[in-house]
């Protein structure tokens, strides 16, 4: 009995963390935060920095909101969430300027616009305001990593095709003709559509496989009976 209880509990902790990365990926499944997803994924470095910055804001604001969830009256919760989120965005803004001015200029207004990223307010309202600090941190980390991975998926493809390099390093030889459109906004839409197509195909295939496996099992089961 004792061995059964941790195995019953551990999936919930792992689920809280993993759902943001795969099952409820903010970009590929929930299709949230499209503005930075399309705007700053013109290079892998920009995409990665944006992902990390958003993860920091997600974790910071989720922690504080979860800590203060019993103290915040329902009527003013959205106002307080926005103040808390804006605080962490301002901190990230300073941090990126301190790390690299070049990176800061490349990301432009999109750092400040993390404030209105619906993933963050969404997680605050749907999860952090109702769950313990530990659970909220796990959820925020999962969602943040899921968002970063999604941005990197777009960023690497766009940079490779659009400039022939990855993280600023040349990958293809001089013979490669860069597909300039890929680093422009339409390229963002095309690559996002490609990834969404791949994801839904994958999902449909696994559901069909599961269904056929279930039917097959039922058949073999009925034969045995």
């Amino acid at each position: 009995m004792n061995t059964a209880s941790p195995s019953n509990q551990s999936p919930t902790v792992a689920d809280t963390f993993l759902k943001g990365i795969w099952k409820e990926n903010p970009v590929f499944v929930m299709v949230l935060g499209m503005c930075p997803t399309l705007a700053v994924t013109n290079s892998a470095t920009n995409a990665f920095t944006m992902g990390i910055a958003t993860t920091f804001v997600l974790v910071g604001s989720s922690t504080l909101i979860s800590l203060l969830r019993k103290f915040i009256p329902k009527q003013v919760r959205i106002a307080t969430y926005i103040v808390i989120i804006a605080t962490f965005v301002t901190m990230v803004d300073y941090a990126i300027q301190a790390v690299s001015l070049q990176l800061y200029l490349a990301l432009g207004a999109f750092i400040q616009l993390i404030v209105v990223n619906c993933i963050i307010l969404g997680r605050a309202e749907a999860f952090a305001s109702k769950n313990s600090v530990f659970q909220s941190i796990l959820d925020a980390l999962g969602m943040g990593i899921g968002f970063t991975v999604a941005l990197l998926c777009l960023g690497t493809v766009r940079e490779l095709l659009g400039t022939g390099s990855l993280m600023g390093m040349r990958v293809f030889g001089d013979a490669f003709e860069p597909w300039g459109l890929m680093v422009l906004p339409p390229g963002g839409f095309f690559v996002l559509a490609g990834w969404l197509l791949l994801f839904s195909w994958w999902k449909r295939r696994s559901t069909t496989e599961a269904a056929t496996a279930g039917v097959a099992m039922q058949r073999t089961g009925s034969h045995e009976i």
Binding site: F71, Q75, V76, V83, T90, A95, A98
Partner: protein, 228 residues
């Protein structure tokens, strides 16, 4: 009826005092966090900005190893000791022997998307530009941002003529951008097809700045040469 419904929906209505305390308390925490972040990062941010300008100055003034910053005040120039001055500035570059190699001039103007800030080098001895770099721009990635990346476009500024006329009050020939591959005079900038607006904006920014600043520099060249 509606009042009773509202009450049923919100059984535990917080008092005004509770809301004020929550909002006030959270604003206080936010304030402290922001001040902490600002104070910790400020020295690094200032250092980064300083380094970015320094690198840009040495990039547009090849051969220089030290520099002096001057503020432009009306028709006069004044040697600055610290970098906190906010007005228009020029940066003089000197080689190891202390000889003036050139002067880097900061200029800004409207581009296609937003303001473009550039730095270009001016060699008083040859009355030509020595280099050009974009400090800040939000031009379209892949098209307009070529003004800071395209080596063919940047090569325009190696020896671009910035000669003053006899009166020493304006340029002899205004700087203009021409169609790609049709540059025929040393004061023309070979444009970028696909980034016409951005390349024309650069020509306009450099021209406006040179028309205004170069006469002042020529007037005070002796002062800059002796680092006073």
């Amino acid at each position: 009826m509606s009042e009773t419904n509202n009450n049923a929906l919100q059984p535990k209505s917080a008092s005004t005092w509770q809301m004020l305390v929550a909002l006030g308390g959270i604003s206080l925490i936010s304030g402290v966090l922001i001040v902490l972040a600002y104070e910790t990062t400020l020295p690094r941010i200032l250092m980064n900005r300083q380094r970015a300008i320094e690198e840009a100055v040495f990039r547009v003034l090849p051969g220089s190893t030290s520099r002096a910053t001057y503020a432009i005040e009306g028709n006069a120039v004044r040697l600055l000791q610290d970098a906190t001055h906010t007005g228009p500035k020029i940066y003089a570059g000197y080689d190891d022997t202390g000889a003036l190699m050139g002067i880097a001039i900061e200029a800004a103007g409207q581009g296609y998307q937003d303001v473009i800030r550039v730095l270009y080098g001016y060699a008083p001895a040859t009355e030509c530009s020595t280099g050009f770099t974009v400090i800040e721009s939000k031009e379209t990635p892949g098209l307009g941002d070529k003004i800071g990346l395209d080596p063919r476009f940047l090569a325009n500024f190696q020896g671009l003529e910035l000669r003053l006329d006899e009166s020493q009050r304006s340029l002899k020939n205004a700087i203009v951008a021409v169609k790609q591959n049709s540059k025929s005079n040393p004061w023309e900038i070979d444009g970028i097809s696909g980034a016409t607006v951005s390349s024309k904006a650069v020509a306009r920014i450099v021209n406006d700045s040179a028309q205004e600043i170069l006469p002042i520099i020529r007037q005070h060249l002796r002062q800059i040469e002796t680092q006073q």
